[in-house]
Amino acid sequence: MSVHLHTQRADPAPPPHRPGRRRSRPTSRLWSQLDLKAAPYFLISPYFVLFAIFGLFPLVFTLWVSLQDYGLAGGDATFTGLENYSKLLADADFWNAVVNTVGIFVLATVPQLVLALLLANALNKRLRGRLFFRLGVLLPLVTSVVAVAIVFTQLYGRDFGLFNWLLGHVGVDHNIDWQSSKWSSWTAIATMVDWRWTGYNAIIYLAGMQTIPRDLYEAASIDGASPRKQFWSITLPMIRPTIIFTVFVSTIGGLTLFAEPVMFASNRMDGGTTGQFQTIAMYIVEQGFRNFDYGYAAAAAWLLFLLILLGVGINYTFVRRIGGSR
């Protein structure tokens, strides 16, 4: 690519008559003025037209929908102000979904990012077959979420699942019904998330680590700093921006978790018999597209958004402290 550019740049100056010929005609000057002014807007217009229709409009209109009551089965809407919100805030099922979502998020994200850091540190060593290892840890990411969830749900099967069989060998003599309780179902779903995303985060951290000048480590080694010490006082502080990025991405992804718990419940929205692993996204779909209470679902979507802002804010202040504050 760069070779190509260089040959272009090295070209002799363009033949002098061409620009002159173009500019001499008034219509073509007008045309090129118009081109200069209008072309940029033409180039960005596809994105912004799509954005207006499929991004901005739904986003703003959700607010309006959330102030309506659609009665039974998506009938005529009547304006009810903030009633949906006050109903939601008093709805034990909604709070159950909030607790589940946050619980699964914490259970999945903390080990995931810690493991990813360790993994990235290992990948950053001098290795034979670097590409093989990088591809190896990234493979789960390209596997579709639904597929991951299906395979893991079978592995977590009560009677014939591989995990219960393995646990039987280490002294757990009864078969765990993973779907049945909050903690077991949260753990199962968290492992699905972690399996898919740990490698991705490791690759992102690795990219961050490779921008750290190597002589920092050389110097630290000569000063007698152990690899562990180097990791804490050089690597972590230096890749802080990358960590913040992954925390953002995981927070948004974790709080909107949907496919894994849905598949874990055999493609249902209830999240188990007592909703023990129903997430907010599942709750929104259940309210909006199973009960057709659009207004209620839209209000829940806004509360989810607030929760995401809150989550991102908390995590940001937390992660900023990593490796001492600057």
Partner: protein, 294 residues
């Protein structure tokens, strides 16, 4: 990546390798090996079940090698009428290809404008893209988006799962970055002096230079879009699904027929694996480059 070759530690007499902080210890290698095995195992397990019978799937101890029933199982998936699996597969190919091509073109257009052209409102517009990238538009606007599809009469059609995904702020951002780095400003100036129109510059100067970035964006868009589940599940019908929707129905309708479910799942993952094997290097490279710039 090239920095690795620069590390050539000068060996001092008493240095037994401890001074080289980038030496991979046996422990490191073992840990990485186990990680790769764990990454592969669920996919391998999928192949084992997909190539065996339902009585094998519930055997104790579990089978650890693939069997010989794959072809037969694939036939069964294709013949399971309520899953509409073939329709799903074809639909996914249509949707994902359309979305990928459109997103790459839209992003390359906008990336050129933001990186190399001057116009009023440029910073504001670019900033608005960055902000909306952080909003989960899909989950937030899902109800009005559905109502929009109802009033357009698009529910159950592929249009409903193509058009919303053409909106990809990340793509615009990425191509802006890429164009900025790959196309020297003087090159665009020179083409202008030469009398080239903006579109001509896009075609003759920008496109050849940003092709590697387009490839990375195409790969990422393809994989993301192939995996979409929530919105297609809501807006499509069981008779005209995407492949993800199709296997989710398969799971719900044939709960205990693991072989059927796993074979469908394996088929749904196959295109992704093919892309990954063929372009793995570019995918890793693209992710790593993007991460440092973000």
């Amino acid at each position: 990546m090239t920095t690795i070759t620069q590390v050539a530690p000068v060996r001092r007499p008493k240095d037994r390798g401890r001074r080289d902080p980038f030496r991979a210890t046996p422990l490191t290698k073992i840990a990485l090996g186990i990680t790769v095995l764990l990454s592969i195992f669920p996919l391998y397990w999928m192949v084992i079940i997909a190539s065996r019978t339902n009585s094998d799937a519930v055997e104790v101890p579990p089978p650890l090698l693939p069997g010989g029933n794959l072809g037969e199982n694939v036939q069964r998936v294709l013949n399971t009428e309520d899953a509409h699996f073939v329709t799903g597969l074809v639909n996914s190919l249509i949707v994902t290809t359309t979305v990928t091509i459109s997103v790459v073109i839209i992003s390359t257009f906008a990336g050129f404008a933001f990186a190399r052209l001057r116009f009023r409102g440029r910073n504001l517009l670019l900033g608005s893209i960055l902000i909306t990238m952080m909003v989960p538009l899909q989950q937030m606007g899902i109800v009005p988006l559905y109502q929009l599809m109802v009033s357009l009469g698009w529910v159950g059609t592929l249009k409903a799962v193509i058009l919303p995904y053409l909106l990809n702020g990340f793509g615009v951002f990425m191509m802006t970055q890429y164009t900025d780095q790959a196309v020297p400003e003087e090159l665009v100036e020179a083409a202008r002096v030469d009398g080239a129109s903006t579109m001509r510059i896009w075609w003759n100067v920008i496109l050849p230079a940003v092709r590697p970035g387009m490839a990375v964006l195409a790969l990422q868009t393809f994989m993301l879009n192939w995996n979409e589940f929530m919105w297609p599940m809501i807006v499509l019908t069981p008779e005209n699904p995407t492949v993800q929707v199709s296997i989710s129905f398969l799971t719900a309708a044939h709960t205990t027929d693991y072989v059927l479910i796993f074979t469908g799942t394996a088929l749904s993952v196959l295109p992704l694996i093919v892309v990954f094997v063929a372009f793995g290097r570019q995918i890793v490279g693209g992710l790593m480059e993007g991460a440092v710039k973000a």
